[in-house]
């Protein structure tokens, strides 16, 4: 195969105020052959996004190209005239940006944005592009594919946006696809679908791809070739098989070592009992919440229903579930950002006001919320130093040089250089922003932290270090966590208890060891079996299992009647599961499963998943019922 795309000694630098250059990418070279997928992996802030954008002769404002060449079909794109560079972008090279939520234009319909590049570059007519877009929506398991294009970005969830972004990159059939963390915001089940779609396009159209990620398991599934970056330099590169199984560079080795195994029972750590009281730190009772205001005591759009969760002192409660199931909503309700329609929240035994406006400053300090999307949660006009310094000053009254000292400590804690205090958020990488976002909550010295996907954009090393940091904090100060993540291994290793949410309801809840061990709720089981493994060919193997094919190919439907998982459940009972609210069974103490089936049925299903064919008919891949 010929080299479609070559990066030759690429250098990118920023400049300090006084004009001295700060190198960001320090002479990187690698090639991409046609039909090949090259993965860029490396720690957060190592320059992955910067390099990916350089493929289109683009760099963020504030950065510049002092040297090197980027050749597509043998021609250097950096030295092309601007018109040709423009023609290249979106046509020959398509880009999938790291933060999908912010990258969609809120004022334009999804359809127009997805097809824009293809139509503008004249590769397709609007009708052709629309048709292809719809095909892609189908392939990416997006809901309501035929009409989705007419919606606006705010009308779909974050995970859906990321898939739409993928459709946008794929639509024009480019020579080179640049995918910057295309599945970070996705839960494992959806991730599989998206990976499948990428593979298909790359195979069918002979495109090449640069795939940026920090998730080595994913890399193992999609990449042919791996480039390992650290601090703007290539540490090692080679075929996937070789790098995965036999890394030579110490950094790669560490990266591999930090990868968490597939979650299994027993990997959670025991809680230090210094702070262990039985009394709940935060308790959510009978809570129902949703959006669109409250009418007749019910939210217009109900998202969460009858939630009961206890977060004990210095415990970590992991919340898992598919994209859009209401994980963030739960955290928002506890934080007081979204007053619940029904139910109460208790903090240390006293009732919290539903609306944060009525909470005291002390209560606000005790409960800290880390926003899922760091991009929008950091004020673009404030320096990092001020973003972090403010809670310190506000809650603790620490000012001046002492404040700076504290800020520096926080930055060190989340592994960011101290000098970042004088940067604006736009000058940070995705993972760096995420860490600043978390550091801001830490600055308040809370009693309970609501962490919404705090490690999703971090590489395995930094991520495990962050988790270590949180653990240390817990041990030292007794802070408790609500840890929302779709990364089951992280949850498995960090959490003490797990709450499994599905379509706004708790389907399973209990100590980590119980939840991650059979008997599972059918949905929990689906989740666990969808976690990619760090071995080449896992994806293909998984797809062989018919059960997976059945379970995955469905959207989430928030229903009022019956069991929400009914339409995806391999062991659902018709006319029961779809009409009656399932009862709660308690296989062990404090371990609850919500299901109509008996414990025996569930265990039987575990034993022979392949034999359960029930529900397959109604799960034919193209399902109209799913809207």
């Amino acid at each position: 195969m010929s080299d479609l795309f070559e990066i030759d000694n690429l250098q990118i630098q920023a400049r300090k105020e006084d004009g001295t250059p700060i190198p960001i990418v320090k002479g990187v070279s690698f090639n991409v052959k046609a039909g090949e997928v090259v993965a860029l992996i490396g720690e957060s802030g190592s320059g992955k996004s910067t390099i990916s954008m350089a493929t289109m002769a683009y760099c963020r404002p504030g950065l510049e190209f002092p040297g090197g060449e980027v050749r597509l079909h043998g021609k250097d794109v950096l030295s092309m005239d601007p018109q040709d560079q423009r023609k290249l972008r979106g046509n020959n090279v398509a880009y999938l940006a790291q933060s999908a939520a912010a990258t969609f234009n809120p004022a334009i319909t999804i359809g127009e944005q997805v097809t824009e590049a293809a139509v503008l570059h004249g590769t397709m007519t609007q009708e052709e592009a629309d048709k292809r877009a719809v095909e892609l929506y189908h392939a990416l398991e997006l809901p309501d594919p035929d009409r989705l294009g007419r919606r606006y970005p705010h009308q779909v969830s974050g995970g859906q946006l990321q898939r739409l972004m993928a459709a946008m990159a794929l639509v024009s059939g480019p020579d080179l696809l640049v995918l910057d963390e295309p599945t970070t915001a996705l839960d494992v089940t959806t991730q599989i679908e998206v990976l499948k779609a990428f593979k298909k396009v790359i195979r069918d159209e002979g495109s090449a791809a640069i795939y940026v990620t920090h998730d080595l398991a994913v890399v193992a599934q999609v990449a042919d070739h791996i480039v390992v970056l650290y601090s703007g330099e290539i540490q090692e590169q080679g075929p996937t098989e070789k790098i995965i199984t036999n890394p030579t560079h110490p950094y790669t080795k560490r990266l591999m070592a930090a990868v968490k195994p597939t979650p299994v029972a027993g990997m959670g750590e025991l809680v230090d009992d210094a702070f262990d009281r039985d009394e709940a730190n935060v308790e959510v009772r009978n809570m129902t919440a949703g959006y669109g205001g409250i009418v007749n005591g019910k939210p217009v759009i109900t998202v969460l229903r009858d939630i009961n969760v206890k977060i004990k002192n210095s415990h970590v409660v992991g919340v898992i579930g598919e994209s859009g199931c209401g994980k963030s909503t739960l955290a928002r309700v506890i934080a007081g950002l979204l007053p619940a329609a029904k139910g109460e929240i208790y903090l240390d035994g006293t009732k919290l006001e539903a609306d944060l406006k009525n909470r005291s400053k002390e209560e606000l300090q005790k409960v800290q919320f880390v926003y899922q999307m760091a991009d929008t949660a950091l004020n673009p006009r404030q320096l990092i130093g001020d973003i972090l310094g403010r809670p310190i000053e506000f809650y603790q009254g620490i000012k001046g040089s002492q404040r700076r000292e504290e800020v520096a400590n926080l930055l060190r804690m989340v592994e960011l250089p101290v000098e970042f205090e004088s940067r604006y958020p736009s000058e940070l990488s995705g993972g760096q922003k995420q860490r600043v976002n978390m550091a801001r909550a830490l600055a308040a010295k809370p009693e309970i932290m609501l962490c919404d996907e705090v490690t999703s954009a971090l590489d395995s090393i930094v991520s495990s270090n962050v988790i270590k940091l949180l653990q240390k904090l817990r041990d030292q100060t007794g802070v408790s966590f609500v840890f929302i993540s779709h990364d089951l291994s992280t949850v498995g290793s960090f959490a003490d208890e797990i709450v499994v949410l599905y379509a706004g309801r708790v389907v399973e809840q209990g100590p980590v060891d119980e939840v991650l061990a059979p008997p599972y709720h059918p949905y929990t089981r689906l989740l666990i079996s969808s976690v990619p493994e760090l071995r080449v060919g896992w994806l293909e193997d998984t797809m062989q299992k018919r059960e997976m094919a059945v379970g995955i190919a469905r959207g989430v439907e928030i229903t009022e009647r019956g069991c929400p998982f009914y339409n995806r459940c391999p062991i659902a009972i018709d006319d029961v599961c779809d009409v009656e609210i399932p009862p709660t069974i308690e296989p062990h103490k404090d371990h609850f499963i919500t299901c109509h089936r008996s414990m025996e049925d569930i265990e039987a299903a575990e034993a022979a998943p392949q034999q359960i064919l029930h529900g397959f008919e109604k799960a034919a891949p193209d399902n109209e019922k799913v809207a």
């Binding site: 504030g62 006009r381 060190r412 101290v418």
Partner: protein, 313 residues
């Protein structure tokens, strides 16, 4: 691969050293001015200086009626000695001197009034956007009511009712223009209000002031700064139209707007360069406002133009 990276990598990631030192002070993000911006600073500084020392450098007193004819052309010699470098006005006063004396009134009043208008309008406008509900309703309705009346009419009413003095003049201009600022600030405020970072500040328990001035305002600063530059002119002109109705600055004090207005007739009546009488003060206004706006543009270019420069036609 350098040795240094080798070492780093082998270190435990938690004990990184290269960034560990705290710089002495956070480097200030200084504003880089383009040549137009620098020009703006020079001109504004000049007028600010004149506002302070104008009366002492002016060749004549602003009220001095020199025994000559009205609307003399620039360079005319005066009977009693001296030259009208920029000619004379309708009352045979020296235009240059009056412009220099007038800097104090014009630059001073318009700047203070616009600042006040901004303080008032931005605070209330963003507060309305932040607080929503009844606060917004009440503030917006009052504001709409003020805004729906013609400015001159309002000014007339206020000044006629309260009398004319410089503080009242400043207050009047501030109230009137605050209402326009309010609407614009509120429009931008509403867009910024929905951002997570504002919510996050609210969740921290921050006061409304912090949210207005630290969270929302900096994100609307650029269009508001642009508007500030324009509003300054409006205030200069507003004061001159009040002067025309006999409500503004009292004679013999000069303000540029009124100087233009009073000598407007020269364009018709006077001969030769004497007809330029209104142009000199008009140039003074223009130089001041353009200079201010050039600075504003540089400030806003910092927050707006970066990506724009990456566009390709």
């Amino acid at each position: 691969m350098t040795d240094m990276t080798q070492n780093e990598i082998q270190d435990d990631a938690q004990e990184k050293t290269i960034y560990d030192e705290l710089p002495d002070a956070p480097p200030k993000k200084t504003l880089k001015l383009s040549w137009t911006g620098k020009l703006g600073v020079i001109v504004v500084a000049f007028w600010a200086l004149m506002a302070l020392i104008g009366p002492w450098v002016a060749p004549f007193d602003q009220a001095e009626i020199l025994d000559m004819d009205s609307y003399l052309p620039p360079g005319a010699e005066i009977d009693g000695g001296g030259t009208h470098w920029l000619g004379s006005d309708n009352n045979e006063r020296d235009t240059l001197s009056r412009i220099l004396w007038g800097a104090r009134m014009t630059v001073g009043i318009s700047f203070v009034a616009t600042l006040l208008a901004y303080l008032l309008g931005v605070t209330a406008g963003i507060a309305a956007a932040v607080k929503k509900g009844w606060t917004d309703m009440i503030l917006s309705r009052i504001n709409d009511a003020i805004l729906s009346l013609p400015t001159i009419m309002l000014g007339l009413l206020i000044v006629v009712a309260l009398g004319s003095s410089i503080p009242i003049l400043i207050g009047t201009a501030a109230v009137i223009y605050a209402s326009s600022v309010f609407r614009i600030a509120r429009a931008y405020g509403q867009e910024i209000m929905v951002m997570d970072y504002v919510e996050s500040a609210q969740a921290r328990g921050e006061t409304i002031w912090w949210i207005i001035f630290r969270e929302v305002l900096p994100n609307a600063a650029m269009p508001l700064a642009t508007d500030f530059g324009l509003r300054l002119v409006f205030v200069v002109l507003f004061i001159s139209s009040l002067s025309f109705l006999g409500l503004g600055i009292q004679p013999p004090n000069a303000d540029w707007g009124s100087m233009v207005r009073e000598s407007l007739e020269a364009m018709q009546f006077a001969e030769g360069m004497g007809a330029w009488a209104p142009i000199w003060p008009a140039l003074a206004i223009a130089s001041f406002t353009i200079a201010i706006n050039l600075i504003v543009d540089d400030i806003s270019a910092k927050s707006g133009g970066d990506l724009a420069k990456k566009m390709i036609s």
